[in-house]
C-alpha cells in the first residue's frame, strides 16, 4: 500500500495509525512511528545549529587570551556559547575554574548564598531567556546542594548546565575530603552528565553539555571537573560544540499521522487544545495562537504553560488540573478530541487516569517519544517540535470543526464556575486580592516567580498571564523555597523594563530567604510578596480536608517579621494587614528600584479552590472543602 493509499484508508475507516505503544513486535502492516515511514519523515541528525564552525569572535578570544589550562578551556567554552551569567558558590575543588573566570570580561558570576539558590537561579534564568542557565559549585556538599535545583530543572525540562568541582582524579574513589560521586548522584536527575578526564577535552565536554541542555527536549546537564583536569595544562581551544553521535532529535511528525490527526480534528464535535510547557520551551506560542484562533479551538493549559496562550482571549479556558478552574476541568473532561501539545500528562493535571478526558481521542504532540502513551494513550502520536508540528497540522486541516455548540458550552461553563472569590468582611485579608493587586500594578510582561504551596496556586489562578516566559515556578518537583532564588535568575534574564514579582509563602520563603542578600548586593529590582498565614498552608488545608484537622507540624504560630527582616538585609520592607493598605504598599514596592518585601498577613484559614483531590475525577472538582 502506498502512503497515499494508506492516508485514504485512514481517512475513510477512521483507523488511526497506531503508535509504538500499541503495535506488537513483529506485527506487519501498520505504519508506526519508528518504522521506515516515520524515520524517513523526521529531520534527524544533530541539531543543525550546533555544528557551526567556530565564530570569528571565538577566534578573536583565542588570539587575545589563549587557553593555558583545563579551567581556561571551560571558561572559553562558556564564552563561545555566548553565556553571560553564572550562578554559584566558591569552594576548594572548583577554585581553578573561578580563577579562570577572573579573567573573563564576558562572564559575570553571581555569588549566591547557597548552592541550592544557584541551581534555582540558573534554572529561572534558563526559563526566562530560553538559553541554558549555568550554575557551579564545588565538590561534595557544593554539588549535593545543587541536587534539588537540578532535579527541579529535570522535572520541568528546563535548559541548565551544572559545573561541579571534583577531587583530583587520583583521589577519586578514596573517600577524599569533600568527595561525592556527583555523576552517580545526579544520573537519575540529569538529561546527561559526564566526568571530565583530560584538560585537552574538558572544554569540549562543557560545549557538549551546553548543546545537549537546550536541544530537543531541554533538561539539565552536568560536567564533573576534577581539580587535576582543570589545573592541567593545555593549549587546545575547545572546538565548536558537538552533539554526541548517538543523540538525535526528530523535529517534524510523520505525515501519515499528521493527516489522520487533521481528519480527526475536522470531524470533532468538542475539540480542545491542551497546551503544555513544551509550547513555551519550543517558542511555539505564535503558532499555537494562529492555530487555535483560525479553527476556534478552546485552549486549556497546564501549569507550566501559563502564558503560552493569552488568558484574556475568549478561547482561553485557563489552567486545568488539581487547582485548575472549574471551566477548564469541565472542558477537559467533556472534550471528544484532546490535542495535547508539549505536555507529559502529569498526575496533577490528569487526576485519576480512569476518569481523565474519558470520551476523548487524544492527539499527542511531543518532541520526546517516551512521553507518547506514557500516561495517557495517544490515538494520534505526533513526534516533533511543537511549532513545527502545529504548522504541519495547520497546513493539513481543510476545514474548522463544526463546534459552535461546544464553544457555547465552554462559555456557559465559564459563567457557571466563575473564579470570583468571596471577600467576607469578618475575615482577614484574602490572598486572591493581593495577587490581583500586584497584577494590576505591574506591566503585562511582568515576570512572576513563586515558591510552592497555596500562594503558588493563588498566583496561577488570579494572575492573568498573557505572554510566554513570564511564569517561573517549580511545577513537577514542587520545591518550596524556589521563588526567591528564581527571582534573582529571572531578574538578570529579564529586560530592564520588565517587572519581576516573587510570590512566596511564609514557610516557603523561610527555606531560601538568604538569597535576598544576593538581590541586595547585586541591586536587583524584585518585589517579593509574602502571603503569610503562619502555616505551611497547603499542608494545613489537606489536614483540614483529609486528616480531621490534626495540624501536625504545619502550624508555625510564630513567624519572623518579614518586613523588618528585609530591612535588616538592606532591602525595603512593608507589612500589610488590611485591604486599604494593599494598594499603597504595592505601589511603593513596585516603584522602589531595588529588592522589596511585602509581608501580607492573610487569612490563615484561606484555602485554594477549586480542588480535585489526588487521583480524583477532574469533572468532580470541589468548590469548597464541604464538596470534597
Amino acid at each position: 500500500m502506498s502512503d497515499h493509499e494508506r492516508d485514504e484508508a485512514d481517512a475513510t475507516n477512521g483507523e488511526p495509525v497506531p503508535d509504538g505503544g500499541e503495535t506488537a513486535a513483529g506485527q506487519a502492516g501498520a505504519t508506526a512511528p519508528g518504522s521506515a515511514a516515520e524515520r524517513g519523515a523526521g529531520d534527524e541528525g544533530s541539531d543543525p545549529g550546533v555544528d557551526e564552525p567556530p565564530t570569528d569572535e571565538s577566534d578573536q578570544r583565542a588570539a587575545e587570551r589563549p587557553v593555558g589550562t583545563g579551567a581556561q578551556s571551560v571558561v572559553r567554552a562558556l564564552e563561545n556559547a555566548d553565556i553571560e551569567y553564572l550562578f554559584g558558590v566558591q569552594g576548594g575543588a572548583i577554585m581553578p575554574v573561578y580563577d579562570a573566570l577572573y579573567d573573563s570580561e564576558q562572564l559575570t558570576h553571581v555569588t549566591m548564598a547557597h548552592e541550592q539558590g544557584a541551581s534555582h537561579a540558573a534554572d529561572a534564568f534558563g526559563i526566562v531567556s530560553g538559553d541554558p542557565g549555568v550554575c557551579l559549585a564545588t565538590s561534595g556538599p557544593g554539588a549535593t546542594n545543587l541536587v534539588t535545583g537540578i532535579a527541579d530543572a529535570d522535572m520541568d525540562s528546563d535548559p541548565m548546565i551544572a559545573l561541579t568541582g571534583q577531587v583530583s582524579t587520583e583521589m577519586v574513589g578514596n573517600d577524599a575530603f569533600q568527595e561525592t560521586d556527583t555523576t552517580g548522584v545526579t544520573d537519575p536527575i540529569t538529561k546527561h552528565n559526564s566526568f571530565a578526564t583530560d584538560p585537552d577535552t574538558v572544554g569540549d565536554d562543557v560545549g557538549e553539555a551546553l548543546a545537549l541542555a537546550d536541544s530537543g527536549r531541554p533538561g539539565p546537564t552536568l560536567v564533573d571537573l576534577p581539580k587535576d583536569v582543570t589545573n592541567g595544562e593545555t593549549d587546545r581551544e575547545p572546538g565548536a560544540p558537538q552533539m554526541p553521535e548517538t543523540y538525535t532529535v526528530q523535529k517534524s511528525a510523520d505525515r501519515t499521522n499528521v493527516v489522520s490527526a487533521a481528519r480527526a480534528i475536522e470531524e470533532a464535535d468538542q475539540p480542545a487544545i491542551l497546551a503544555g510547557g513544551g509550547i513555551i520551551k519550543g517558542d511555539a506560542s505564535q503558532e499555537l495562537y494562529e492555530f487555535a484562533t483560525e479553527y476556534e479551538l478552546p485552549v486549556v493549559t497546564t501549569m507550566p504553560a501559563l502564558g503560552a496562550f493569552p488568558e484574556d482571549h475568549e478561547l482561553s479556558m485557563s489552567m486545568a488540573g488539581m487547582h485548575g478552574t472549574g471551566f477548564a476541568n469541565m472542558a477537559i473532561t467533556h472534550t471528544d478530541l484532546l490535542i495535547g501539545i508539549g505536555t507529559r500528562f502529569d498526575d496533577r493535571l490528569t487526576g485519576g487516569i480512569e476518569t481523565f478526558a474519558p470520551d476523548a481521542e487524544v492527539v499527542h504532540v511531543d518532541i520526546d517519544p517516551a512521553e507518547i502513551s506514557k500516561n495517557i494513550h495517544a490515538d494520534y502520536p505526533l513526534i516533533g517540535d511543537a511549532g513545527t508540528v502545529i504548522e504541519q497540522l495547520h497546513d493539513q486541516i481543510d476545514r474548522a470543526p463544526d463546534a459552535d455548540e461546544w464553544r457555547d458550552q465552554c462559555v456557559e461553563w465559564k459563567e457557571e464556575y466563575p473564579m470570583d472569590y468571596p471577600v467576607p468582611e469578618d475575615r482577614p485579608l484574602q490572598p486572591e486580592f493581593v495577587v490581583e493587586a500586584l497584577d494590576e500594578a505591574t506591566g503585562d510582561d511582568a515576570i512572576v516567580t513563586t515558591g510552592v504551596g497555596q500562594h503558588q496556586m493563588w498566583a496561577c489562578q488570579y494572575w492573568e498571564f498573557t505572554e510566554p516566559r513570564t511564569w517561573v515556578s517549580s511545577h513537577g518537583l514542587g520545591t518550596m523555597g524556589y521563588g526567591m532564588p528564581a527571582a534573582v535568575g529571572a531578574r538578570l534574564a529579564a529586560d530592564d523594563d520588565q517587572d519581576v514579582v516573587c510570590f512566596e509563602g511564609d514557610g516557603s520563603f523561610l527555606m531560601t530567604l538568604q538569597e535576598l542578600s544576593v538581590a541586595v548586593r547585586e541591586e536587583l529590582d524584585v518585589t517579593v510578596a509574602v502571603l503569610n498565614n503562619e502555616y505551611v498552608g497547603m499542608v494545613r488545608q489537606w489536614q483540614d480536608a483529609f486528616f480531621e484537622g490534626r495540624h501536625a507540624a504545619s502550624e508555625y504560630g510564630w513567624c519572623p517579621e518579614f518586613d523588618k527582616l528585609a530591612e535588616a538585609f538592606g532591602a525595603r520592607g512593608w507589612a500589610v494587614d488590611d485591604y486599604d493598605e494593599v494598594a499603597d504598599a504595592v505601589e511603593e514596592a513596585v516603584d522602589y528600584d531595588g529588592p522589596s518585601v511585602i509581608d501580607f498577613r492573610i487569612d490563615p484559614q484561606a484555602n485554594v479552590y477549586p480542588m480535585v483531590p489526588s487521583g480524583g475525577d477532574n469533572g468532580k472538582f470541589a468548590l469548597s472543602e464541604g464538596q470534597l
Binding site: 519508528g34 554526541p244 470520551d359 520526546d368 517516551a370 468571596p422 469548597s624 472543602e625
Partner: protein, 219 residues
Amino acid sequence: MSNDTSTTPDDSKALDGPLPEERPEPQGKRNAQGIRIDPEAEAELDPERVTLSALVLHEPGVLAQVSSLFSRRQFNIESLTVGLTENPDRARITLVIEETRPGVEQAKKQLAKLVPVAAVRELERDATLRELALIKVSSEHPDKVQALAEMYGGQAVDAGAETITVEITGQRPQIENAVEAFERFGVREITRTGTAALARGATETAESGHPPNAPMNDD
C-alpha cells in the same frame, strides 16, 4: 458538633457553581495504562517476556545508567548482560524484561532516550538466545557426569579429586532442565549468565543507523 459543613469558615467562602453531583458526566473510562476502554468489559493486560538489545557507547558508567533506569522506573527485569561487539566503540546490552505491552514500549523508549544508547531493538521470538551455566558437582561419578553434560551439548571444563565443573549453553529451558538433571550428583555451586541474543539471519540486531530516540517497532 454538627456535621453541617456549610457552617465551617471554609464554606463561607465557597466558590460558585453547580455541585459535583449536579454536573453532567462523561460516558467513557480509561484503564490504568491510559487507554480508553469499554467500561463494561475491562480487561487486564497480561505481561509478556521480551528480549531487548541495546547498542551503547563503550564507556564507563553506561551499564550503571541502564540498570538505574530500569530500577527507578520499576520495569521488571529478568536478566541483563553486557559485552563487547565487533565495534570497539560499542558494547551490546541484552535485557530480558517482563512487562505488559505498554510497559515494553515505554521501556524501549526510555532506554533509547539515554544519551549513550545508540540503538534499541525488541527481538523477534525466533531470535538466537543463549545463556550459559557452570555447574559444579561432586566427582564421585565422573563418567555419568560427562555423559549427562554431553546429552545437554555441554562439557566438563574442570575436574579434580572432589569436584567436576560442567559448562552448559543453551536457551533458558535447556539450562533449567540441565540444572535439574545434575542435582542427582550433588550440586556444590551454580553460576548462570543472563541471556545473550542476536537477531536471526541478515536482520541487524540493533541497527546503528536507527534513530535511537525515535520509538521503535520491529516491523
